[in-house]
């Protein structure tokens, strides 16, 4: 049997599960108390420099953009970051807030590579550690299960493994080689959902991405929601609570919170804005101009939506939403 290999890492984040257990007992809100606050309050209250942050879903779909823009406005960094990114991670990197990235995919899909990621990596400014998509989701799952790692059968034999923080192990039952991926706990997770009550009970319509796993892997979880519903609405369909109140620390009312990304069944992505963004970020100066105009130049999410075209633009994007 060949020697078992280790990815060269670095392993950016590895918290002992027992420490997290004790932290959860001491710090998480166990009662149903109101956690309603604004983006500004939630980001200021929970995000600190040097922390490890993650966002969900990804790219231009159900992405917590109102929270990300607020994080950029408050210039909290340097941060370590997990992901999956098109708009949200892209913007955080462009703002110079990211020092290390547990990367799986970061690009514009059909529109190609991200000039922001390219500049950050090719200049050596941001350090990347490689993972597969499922590996990152399963790392959150390991954390959600209170385990230090999970054995999986992805990444084996590849450079993706060699440049990750994973390790090969032998199965104690079958003897086959497995890839051990370490639990990934976030200091702060950001998730945008369709609806939540004031306590943080959340429902998502459509695919759930890795929301269930990431929510449970977050020490602090900030949720933004298109709609804040009475608690009774949650009680009428408790089977739909994907993220329960006791893992949520802040609930932000953010109609249009995924813009310029889409929100399944509610509104389609603002393609014109995304294209303008992609053109702007071709150069470093253009990227900074975009942030200045659309992030620092808007006071808050309401102001951003107004600048995007307000109710008129929202109505157009609602009309283009995928129907049921």
């Amino acid at each position: 049997m060949a020697e078992l290999k280790s990815g060269r890492g670095p392993l950016i984040r590895m918290l002992p599960p027992d420490e997290v257990r004790a932290w959860m007992r001491a710090n998480k809100p166990k009662g149903q108390v109101s956690k309603l606050m604004t983006e500004r309050e939630a980001i200021a209250k929970f995000v600190r420099p040097e922390q490890y942050v993650g966002v969900e879903l990804y790219g231009g779909v159900r992405c917590p953009m109102s929270l990300v823009r607020e994080l950029v406005r408050q210039r909290i960094g340097p941060l370590d970051l997990a992901g999956q990114g098109v708009l949200e991670n892209d913007m955080l990197i462009a703002a110079g807030l990211v020092r290390r990235l547990d990367i799986t995919y970061h690009g514009y899909e059909v529109y190609g590579t991200s000039p922001i990621l390219r500049r950050a990596c090719e200049s050596g400014k941001v350090q990347t550690v490689e993972w597969s998509n499922a590996a990152l989701a399963w790392r959150f799952k390991a954390a959600a299960m209170g385990l230090p790692f999970l054995p999986v059968r992805s990444m084996l034999g590849t450079g993706t493994f060699d440049y990750s923080g994973a390790k090969e192990i032998l199965c104690p039952f079958t003897g086959v080689k497995l890839c051990a991926i370490p639990a990934l706990h976030l200091d702060v997770g950001l998730i945008h959902v369709h609806r939540a009550d004031e306590f943080g009970n959340c429902q998502i319509d459509g695919i759930t991405g890795f929301a269930a796993e990431m929510a449970r892997a977050s020490k602090r979880l900030i949720v933004s929601a298109e709609e804040i519903v009475p608690h009774l609405e949650i009680q009428k369909a408790p089977d739909r609570t994907l993220i329960p109140y006791f893992i949520v620390d802040a609930v932000v009312h953010a109609p249009g919170g995924s813009l310029p990304g889409e929100m399944p069944y509610l509104y389609w992505r603002d393609d014109a804005h995304i294209k303008a963004y992609m053109e702007a970020v071709q150069t470093e100066e253009g990227a900074q101009r975009y942030l200045q105009e659309w992030v620092h130049g808007t006071r808050d999410h309401t102001d951003f939506v107004k600048k995007l075209g307000g109710e008129k633009r929202l109505a157009e994007l609602r009309a283009e939403a995928t129907t049921r």
Binding site: E122, S132, A134, T208, G209, T322
Partner: protein, 256 residues
């Protein structure tokens, strides 16, 4: 029947990729050409094709073309809107027959690079990275790569091995810990349809695209290619395939 030269390279790639899709199979689809190919296959020979998208969409009608692997069109009128773990774990259990992949580089064993050109830590070019590709290459039974032919893409040595093909040859996947009996199946390019010679796991030419010659395929490949004994011609896109593609699937010409 087909009108000569009345189609472009993208259309030829899409039609060729669509023909690889098996009716009734579950098939992982990535952004771009595989999406168009799946939409075409569903309208032609494979109406019961189940297109699976890694963030949870499974079996949409593909009436409107998704623009991202997680967008709402990936589960429009679908039986399942699940999660990434749901779908990747289904593949790990052996439920997903095909996976479509792309990349910047491929080698003779079907290994793919979608991560960097040059040194990892100070790359000449940083690509988006594995995403679901490594999982698809590790967990599906058979993978089909779709890419343009060219010496800078078909290379003797990858700058970075993002996704496992046959790794270093026969038995290498199993020695690495990957499940047996799985691996690369086809490569669809603008010059040829390629497969893998079973004994050596090396890439071999199965069919030539319309107008392409074996010499041209060799000239655009940076490693030695094997050639199937029964080398055949891949028929050009039919008028009906092109009509569906242009009028129904991608009327705005986002991709072609």
């Amino acid at each position: 029947m087909a009108a000569k030269e009345a189609y472009n390279k993208s259309e030829m790639l899409i039609c060729s990729a669509a023909r690889q899709m098996e009716d009734g199979a579950i098939c992982f689809i990535g952004t771009g050409i595989p999406m168009l190919a799946a939409a075409l296959a569903k309208r032609t020979h494979a109406p019961r094709l189940v297109a699976a998208f890694e963030f949870g969409g499974m079996g949409p009608d593909l009436e409107r073309l998704p623009v991202a692997v997680g967008d709402s069109r990936t589960f429009h009128r679908a039986p399942v809107a699940g999660s990434i773990c749901d779908l990747m774990e289904a593949a790990a259990r052996g439920m997903v027959e095909y996976g479509f992949l792309g990349g910047a580089q491929i080698d003779m064993f079907g290994n793919l690079n979608a991560t960097v050109i040059g040194d990892h830590d100070k790359p000449k070019v940083r690509f988006p990275g594995s995403g679901g590709a490594n999982d698809i290459g590790s967990l599906c039974w058979r993978t089909i790569a779709v890419m343009r032919h060219g010496k800078q893409r078909f290379v003797p040595r990858l700058d970075f091995l993002t996704t496992a093909g046959y790794l270093t040859g026969p038995g290498a996947r199993e020695r690495a810990g990957l499940a047996p009996g799985a691996g690369p199946f086809r490569v669809v390019t603008d010059l040829a349809i390629l497969g893998y010679e079973p004994a050596s796991c090396r890439m071999q030419v199965l069919k030539l695209q319309p107008g392409a010659t074996l010499e041209a395929v060799r000239a655009e490949t940076g490693f030695e290619l094997l050639v199937a004994a029964d080398l055949a011609d891949n028929p050009p896109p039919t008028a009906e395939e092109l009509r569906l593609l242009r009028e129904e699937i991608d009327p705005e010409h986002l991709y072609t």
